[in-house]
């Protein structure tokens, strides 16, 4: 299953927010969309989910326009989780996760034994099985987010679109959630396309990084090829120092923030050297991302 974008233009009213000429998202990869606030990354993600009608251009799945798919059969292939959805009042974790089965149900929306099994599996996989009777409203932020992920999993879609799944989570829970997603991606061979706020998180987990600024893709490729101070300056106005780390044979670049472009004197090219960074500082930073 491949999502394809061509000559896409998205707008809010008269204001055009996204222009993407050409984009092919291959299956079984983790793609991270990154960019400053208001750059159009959430809008683009919603369009990939078929929830934003483009003003021009097309978004298609397996060569068929998203708009011409039957909503249920599209939902069996493609799942979307908005940024911090409203927590419904008074329903249990299991009930919420069970809603993920909707696209698989018949006209009477009756759950079969198979549906119950999938719901159970989704809760096991996200580590919330012990909470299944709990009211969703009483969960902590981390548990709540895992419940939403379980709902998406129960949908059994090959493509999963997530809008800032780590928002409002503390560092520990962020790492936990990202590891869970990475694990699911490997085991289920999912295509995960997500908007992330944190450039380092994105380069740690992404196979492919899409950087957006003013609605345009300004960088596209594996993190090791696109992440550097030049990128962080263009995206966030932030001068950074790139530090490479090798994770199971893969080079993962991290950006150590040094300061805003305006306040930080440009580092002379000759001085840029990995060895000038104090090892202790780097180590404390890397602890956030355990191997």
């Amino acid at each position: 299953m491949t999502l394809t974008v061509s000559q896409l233009r998205l707008s809010y009213g008269a204001r055009e927010v996204v222009q993407v000429t050409d984009l092919v998202l291959e299956p079984a990869r983790t793609v991270c969309l990154i960019g400053p606030n208001g750059c159009g990354k959430s809008t683009l993600l919603k369009a990939l989910a078929g929830l934003n009608r483009p003003t021009a251009g097309i978004v298609s799945l397996d060569g068929k326009l998203l708009g011409s798919w039957d909503p249920k059969s599209l939902a069996r292939r493609l799942a979307f989780l908005p940024q911090s959805p409203t927590t419904p009042q008074g329903i249990s974790v299991r009930q919420l996760v069970a809603h993920g089965r909707y696209p698989h149900l018949g006209i009477l929306s009756r759950h079969s034994t198979h549906d119950h099994e999938i719901v159970g599996w989704a809760m096991e996989a996200t580590g919330i099985a012990h909470l299944c009777r709990r009211d969703v409203g009483t969960l902590s932020g981390g548990e709540r987010q895992r419940t939403w992920i379980a709902m998406i999993l129960a949908q059994e879609a090959g493509i999963v679109l997530l809008d800032e799944p780590t928002t409002y989570l503390d560092m520990g829970h962020q790492a936990e959630l990202m590891e869970l997603l990475a694990d699911l991606q490997r085991k289920r061979r999912l295509t995960i396309i997500m908007v992330l706020h944190d450039l380092n998180q994105a380069s740690h987990y992404a196979d492919r990084l899409l950087a957006l600024r003013d609605g345009q893709i300004i960088a596209d490729g594996p993190p090791r090829d696109v992440v550097d101070s030049h990128l962080s300056e263009r995206l966030f106005g932030l001068v950074t120092q790139r530090i490479d780390r090798t994770l199971s044979g893969r080079i993962v670049p991290y950006c150590l923030p040094l300061g805003p472009v305006a306040a930080t004197p440009a580092i002379p090219e000759s001085k840029v050297d990995k060895n000038t960074i104090e090892p202790a500082k780097v180590m404390s930073y890397l602890e956030v991302f355990p191997q």
């Binding site: 909503p71 069996r76 329903i91 249990s92 009477l108 009211d135």
Partner: protein, 340 residues
């Protein structure tokens, strides 16, 4: 294994609570059945009343039972079911726990049409009923048409319905003030009453209630899902606007016919689902259970209110509020406590 046992136990306790609620409602309905057949200006003993239900001997007592008391009771039951049912559905589609069937403009629309027909023509019962129903449906159609602009967004829909209700409420007053006629009968209807309800009313009510219940049960899964955000619903492949519109139409039909038959007593539709949720001890009860139980509790409430109304000759609408108001306050209070 142990988790399985926990689930089974929870399901069992939910089922037994549901059985309790329906049992209590049925007992209440049974008690009002007996009470309303026996009670009234024309004295009939209990055993005689039972005989007359089974066999019409052509006596005055039989006429009272068959043509006055029995249809009135059935009309009360059907009105109550229609309101309980539509209340539960409207709370789901507007995502508003304080939603009531009149929310979409039905109450004021139907009231306006009834007041209009009472003021300017004198129509036979069934024509008047049809006129009131059409009035309610038209007002709600206006609400839904305006609401479609925002793709039936719950908040927008609620505000639109409120405006339509206010508009027709004002129109009723303007009409009654400017028309120089005897308005007591209209006021009596406007407070809600089941006096002199006949088989005509029953005949119009029951097909709506039955089809409303069937449609509601058919779509129960979607109603359950409607508490989620629009984006989440859309990504689950649920045609949100379509289902909201479809259920909106069901609510409007049920509420319009109930209001035309018994006056603006839609408050029952607000209270009945909450009594069920409270009785089941959970807010997130599936509509497969919530809908039939709300219909049953609604029926029991209206029957009880009507019996009490008969006793004191007070309009049933006022009793519904007197009965339901404290119940709601209690339920809301309990909920606040349990949330804290």
């Amino acid at each position: 294994m142990s988790r399985h046992l926990v689930d089974t136990w929870a399901d069992f306790s939910l089922t037994s609570r549901a059985v309790w609620i329906s049992g209590l409602s049925l007992v209440a309905i049974g008690a009002t059945l007996i009470g309303s057949l026996v009670w009234g200006d024309y004295g009939v003993s209990f055993s005689h009343a039972l005989e007359l239900v089974a066999y019409d001997d052509g006596s005055d007592a039989a006429f009272v039972i068959h043509e006055i008391r029995f249809p009135r009771l059935l009309a009360a039951m059907l009105v109550g079911s229609a309101l309980g049912l539509s209340g539960a559905i409207v709370q789901a589609i507007t995502r508003n726990p304080l939603g009531e069937p009149g929310l979409l403009g039905v109450t004021a629309g139907a009231s306006f049409a009834m007041a209009f027909s009472m003021t300017f023509f004198s129509l036979p019962t069934s024509a008047e009923l049809a006129f009131g129903t059409v009035g309610g449906i038209s007002a709600a159609a206006l609400t839904l048409a305006i609401g479609m602009k925002a793709r039936l967004d719950p908040l927008y829909l609620t505000l639109t319905g409120m405006s339509v209700n206010l508009f027709f409420g004002a129109a009723i007053i303007v009409m009654l003030v400017s028309a120089n006629i005897e308005v007591n009968g209209i006021y009596y209807w406007l407070t809600g009453s089941l006096v002199n309800r006949t088989w005509d009313h029953v005949a119009i009510l029951w097909p709506w209630v039955v089809s409303g219940l069937i449609l509601g049960l058919f779509g129960a899964g979607r109603l359950d899902a409607l508490i989620l955000d629009e984006d989440v619903l859309a990504s689950l492949g649920i045609r949100v606007t379509t289902w909201r519109l479809l259920f909106g139409v069901v609510v409007v039909m049920l509420a319009a016919v109930a209001v035309a038959a018994a006056g603006p007593i839609t408050f029952i539709g607000l209270v009945a689902p909450h009594i069920v949720r409270f009785g089941l001890g959970t807010q997130g009860v599936s509509h497969r259970i919530l809908l039939p139980l709300s219909a049953l509790v609604g029926a029991a409430l209206v029957c009880a209110a009507d019996l009490a109304a008969k006793w004191q000759e007070v309009p049933v609408g006022i009793l519904c509020v007197l009965l339901g108001g404290p119940v709601l306050v209690y339920l809301v209070g309990r909920r606040e406590v349990s949330d804290a």
